[in-house]
Amino acid sequence: MLPVLSATAATLDADALIGRLAKPAPATVAFREVRFSPLVNEPLIVAGELGYDGPTSLDRRVSEPYRETVAIRGESVRVEREGEPVRSFGLNRAPELRGLLSGFTALLAGDPAVLEHSFKVEASGTDQAWTLELTPIDARARRRLQQIVVNGRADVPQCFTMLTAKGGASVLLLGATADRELPKPTTLDALKHLCSAE
């Protein structure tokens, strides 16, 4: 019995796993993002919900601690924040965002082919508690976005960790995980632990 179990764990089928993650658009999921930057004393934390409406449309609506909506439509990113003029910029200027978008939407589409188009995919763990490591194939993109690590249980992704090349990092806690209390002090390692723990 035991050898069979370990064999299952070792040969975790990434394609089948990704297929199970499919969620039809439109879909919304609560998130809490913890952003680590060398410029700040404490990580920056915002919370709200992500709205997914097909592979070129993603909304990131922040409701805490202030209101802000970032709408990605195709190649354009539009930032609306209360009390400030609307700003927009091209997606090409934010490779992290493009990585998030393509990784996130490919996961929600449940299509391994789409994901493998832009990323080298490595899966580890078990069907119950798994980790996907997505590394951009394009060397130019890799200069900005080193890797995306997705942790999940069964068919629910829980954490979406983006590691930028310059040592910055940003962790998105999704769904129920977003409501869990953050470890103190909030470090990247502590969040990693939270994401991979039961």
Binding site: R81, G90, L97
Partner: protein, 775 residues
Amino acid sequence: MKRTPAALALLTLWIAALALLGWFVQRQLVIGADLRLFLPNPVTPEQRLLLEEIGEGPASRVLVVALEGADAPVLADVSRALVDSLRENPNFSVITNGEMSPDAVPDELLPYRFLLSPTLDTQPLDEKYLHGELLARGRDLASPAGAFLEEWLPRDPTLELLQLLQRWQPMQEPHREFDVWFDRAGRRALLLVVTHAPGFDPDRQKVALGDLEHALQQVAGDRKVKMTVSGAGKFSVLMEARTRGQAQAFGTAATVGMILLLLVAYRSFGSIVLSSLPLASAAIAGMAAVSAIFGTVHGITLAFGFTLIGVAQDYPLHLLSHRRPDHEPADIARGLWPTLATGVASTCIAYLTFMFSGVNGLAQLACFTVASLAVAGVTTRFGLPVLMARAGRDFGDSRFLDRLWDRIAALPHMRWTAAALAAVGIGVIVLAPQAFWENDLSRLTPVPRDLLITDAQLRSELGTADARYLLVVGATDSEQALRTLETMEPSLQALVKSGAIGGYDDAARYVPSPETQLRRQQRLSDAATLRETLQRSQTGTPFRAGVFDPFVQDVEHARSLPPLTVEKLRGSPLGASIDMLLTQRSGGVSALVTLSGVNDVAALQAFVRKAGNVSLLDIKDASEQLIAAQRTRILWSLAAAAVLLIIVIAVALRGRSRVLRVLAPMALTTVLVLAVLRASGESLNLFHLIALILAAGLGLDYALFFEHASADRAEQRRTLHAVLVCSLSTLMVFALLGLSDVPVLRAIGVTVTLGVIFNFVFALLLTRPPPGDAA
């Protein structure tokens, strides 16, 4: 053809000489494409500026690029990739799709942002302002924009650079989709490209366009994106290719037709080869003369020159037609020489007047034609006869020609009819309703209407500068120009506000005057104060202490900078915009204010009157004046040429009646061709004039030969044979050109065709000896 040693030696020498001259030409001659060669020297400052504008001015270098045929996100993506791939290309000084990128500003210019941006005019770097900015930056950092702002923030927490880039955008902002320029319908992505090559340099423009096309293919891959490029450079490439293509096609057809015609007329290949020798010599000698005297030659000069030396093709034909079995060709050439020489000399002397027209291109044309015709005449007289064998037959001895001549002889003399025709012709010329002259400079290189409409649409979508109106500020140096521009700023803003203009662009938008920069500099706090203010304003923000040290350093650096000069900016990637707007001239600087969306010219004129130190340049008006000045010079040259021609003919022929008989067909033809052109609604331009001159030269030769032959019946047949071959061959060449849809070629073709027909008919009817003289 003769096969004597003397003939073979001459032929070898002749060909060797041509080869040598050809080598010289090939080494020496630079073919230019600068249209200005064909315009007179500028007199007023407006005209000088205009010529610079036409030749290498900003407007001529700008290409508008439109991408269509795919969804907007794809087009935006391709637009960005295109900019990325061409940014380093040496053929382009600017390529932009409107997207602002901080990377576009070179590092050493960054500290200048405080002196260039107007923020400090109204907002000191105090605690309240900085605190607000830092709070906003904290949120920016937590947003998806954070990752790319992260590396900028320590140096530029107020995002001054972005404000500056915003300010440098066109005032009449084009429509945007996905942050790049699109047309208002969102169907076409738009880009603006500025080439290093001036618009009227088709060769270099072609290279640039090729690069553009290649880059598109690379970045678009298998996405189906259609690119439209529009602008002066594109047009010059297009028109050059089209003119060249049609000229080549018609030229080939005409050559084949000519060979067939000559075969029918002379029934010998040798004759055809021989008859081409003087023409080839003429062309090469003409080019050699121009290279020796001018060094460069305009492409148009060459094209016109080859048209005009069509007359030279007739010289050997006269000799061929007059050959007889019982005479040595040398004797025949000697007999024809007085007539031929009169024709050559009078035409050459007439062309000489163009040497003094004050229009460089025309002087080159004259030089080319005079050298060519002289060489063609001399080689026909002295070279050809040595190579030529006696004819096997007398070309005048033909039943067809006999009958033809008898019929012609039976025709009534038409002196009064001719006078009446001339009167009617003059009436038509005077009464035709359209403008006599075509004053539109753009017609010199005519571009199909649909292309111009597309161009106008794209330009209005991009809000690019108005092609007709410009404000010009003269100053002793750049600093003074910038100061003047700054004082004009409020009035210009008022013009935009009132809707008189849509927007404007001038150098002061990029580089403020030194005074303004110094004033802003004085508002920058010193390092210690700023560090302290920052510390206080950082309270309540997430930022770490000391993180903005690079900002403090930049401000400190900016405090000690000498004001940014135009010269310093010129060397940077931003230099292209400045180069266009501020040009160094002998004796000073002239600054341009380009306008977009001009709605109210009267308001602009009122502004200019009030400002005093600025003038409104109406490019259309100035160019029309220039064309008119050019025409006046050409017409004076023509008048002088006509007088000289009459004198030469009078001296050569002696006798009023003979002179009249030779000149009448030519004069009547000129009147009637003009009348037909006017009646068909044409306004005349330079090309018509050149074609008329060619027709007059041909007519003169026809009449001279008919006049020469008047005494002898057999000689009359031979002359009829010669003139028939000459006029048919010329007619064929130019009637073919008349079919072209390139306006220039058509104008020349139609005019010369009409001229040949009229000249031939009138030479027969009017130059023919009066009945009493006939033997």
